[in-house]
Amino acid sequence: MTALSQTVEEQKKKIASIKKSNSYIYAEVTTTDQQQAIDLATDLLHKNVNEWAAKQKKFAGSNKIVTMNTNYTVEQMTMPRANMYRAFMYVKKSDVIPAENVEVRDTPTEVSTASTSKPKVAKVTPISNSNRDEIISQLLSVANTGQLSTNLKELKKKGKILEYDNLRGLKDKNLSEYIMVVFNKDGIVEAILSEGENRINLQSGSFDQLTNYKGRGAIGVKVSK
């Protein structure tokens, strides 16, 4: 049954059955702005997938996790949810598979709404090896440069990262080998970008690049192999 032909009540029932099932990971957000609901639910879904994957034994030792065939279903319900929009996104657990050395290619998140349906969109989310996972997890929890400094010192001391430096210090280095932590003039961390020529914003899971953050500072972090 397509989303188009579904009534609101049928969609509610479908969402309830997915939430009750053990086979899915989901995220649900209701806000006044449809795009904001989609964005927040997408972020939350990635977080939930990563949390679930981190607990699965089959991913231990895997260098990357690929989230495939992620269904994104956005339900727009002005009447039942008053003037707000409900975004419900889910992925089948069996579609979250471990993979080695996958070339990271991201496609724009496509969503289905009450009027359109776009299931089975391939979505690739890199997570990397366990050391890198740990470092990224730690970096994602950092809110400002004060905390960043403390964390990096500790990681360097433990040998988990090879080096870190600001952009000036990395002038002659291959920047694509460094995770970039971007912060504003108040020292608030704004983004964490993966290594690579085509960087991924590790908070949103979308393509992103340093040039999108003009006027900000950045610290490059090189992970130990």
């Binding site: 309830a16 009750k20 806000t31 949810r81 008053a82 003037n83 809110a143 608030i188 908070q203």
Partner: protein, 338 residues
């Protein structure tokens, strides 16, 4: 693997037949107490079914037979909370089948946080149907201990991303108290405000003042601050509660922030900085709120400082917003009280 137990409570209602709400609470792997989950589902289903019955029958909530927590001295009374909220606005659960994640806390209590409600449009207090998620807490015995409006998804998700600022348990507490604080405005709960503000609380409120036009006819504007103590603030709040039939407070996090910062001086002190929309019967404003929370007594935290600054310096039409660096943060505020 999540453990799922389905509960269907068919309450026999004395008068009009109202559809009973089905509640399913999902739990994470590792939580294995199906008897308790069943009880929580039953209790929540009973409350939601009663809310919908009262809504449809346009009557007061009948709370007498519901499994509500009996408060000890000093604890909030969920019966009062529900009754006063119901006095402000009626609401009903939007789904016949509620499926939500159950969060068991380390202290043996539980909560669920995404119960979908629609607030009643009565033409005066609430002009249109409004969606509002509700958070429900349960005591160790599974009785309902708290019912409050949840913060918007944007705020709660951002606060969850604060990471090292506070551990999960503490973040949940902070989130819960900010929700209670917000709901207290909606319920006009002066007793909660009296309890939550420290006796020596510092309250700063910014006001935009226009300077007199100069010879060229040009005038400027600036923000000046009025300092109040707790009693002065509460007296003003009492007047605002009395003047307004309804008060609605909405919080949002500032762009690029998670909303919570931890004090460098005391790890049990946190700053919460949010954008606030205040809407009431006869007054509205937009501004930035900073709250300094002291969590040294974790069950009874206090607000040591509250600051409010207007979003716009000058008229809204001028479009000149307060510079971000001028918005109070934990460093500025801690300096004030040292």
């Amino acid at each position: 693997m999540k453990k799922i137990i389905l509960c269907s409570v068919m309450l026999m209602l004395a008068t009009v037949s109202v559809k009973a709400i089905d509640v399913t609470l999902t739990t994470d792997e590792g939580y294995n107490n199906p008897v308790m989950v069943q009880k929580l589902q039953n209790n929540l289903a009973a409350l939601l079914t009663e809310i919908n019955a009262a809504y449809q029958q346009k009557r007061d909530l009948n709370l007498g037979n519901l499994p509500l927590h009996t408060p000890k001295e000093g604890e909030p009374d969920v019966k009062d909370e529900l009754a006063t909220l119901w006095d402000m606005t009626h609401f009903q659960c939007d789904d016949d089948e509620v499926v939500d994640r159950l969060w068991p806390m380390r202290d043996g209590t539980f909560y669920v946080r995404q119960i979908p409600m629609i607030l009643d449009p009565d033409g005066e207090v609430v002009k249109e149907s409004k969606f509002q998620e509700v958070t429900v807490s349960f005591d160790r015995n599974g009785n309902i201990s708290e019912f409050r409006f949840a913060l918007d998804a944007q705020v709660s998700e951002s606060m969850e991303k604060c990471g090292n600022v506070a551990n999960v348990e503490r973040r949940t507490k902070i989130l819960g108290f900010v929700e209670r604080f917000r709901t207290a405005y909606c319920r006009k709960d002066i007793n909660f405000m009296n309890k939550i503000f420290s006796d020596d609380a510092l309250i700063l409120t910014g006001t935009v003042v226009q300077s007199r036009p100069n010879d060229m006819g040009q005038s400027g504007s600036k923000v000046v601050y009025n300092r109040q103590n707790k009693q002065q603030y509460l007296a003003n709040l009492r007047r605002a509660f009395a003047r307004n039939k309804y008060i609605e407070v909405k919080f949002e996090v500032l762009e690029g922030e998670c909303g919570v910062t931890q004090s460098q001086n005391n790890p049990n002190v946190y700053g919460v900085r949010l954008r606030q929309e205040w809407r009431s019967s006869n007054y509205s404003d937009d501004g930035y709120v900073f709250l300094l929370w002291d969590f040294r007594d974790e069950e009874n935290p206090e607000i040591k400082v509250r600051t409010w600054q207007p979003t716009y310096v000058g008229s809204r039409n001028s479009g000149k917003k307060l510079d971000k660096e001028d918005i109070f943060g934990i460093d500025d505020v801690e300096e004030m009280i040292q």
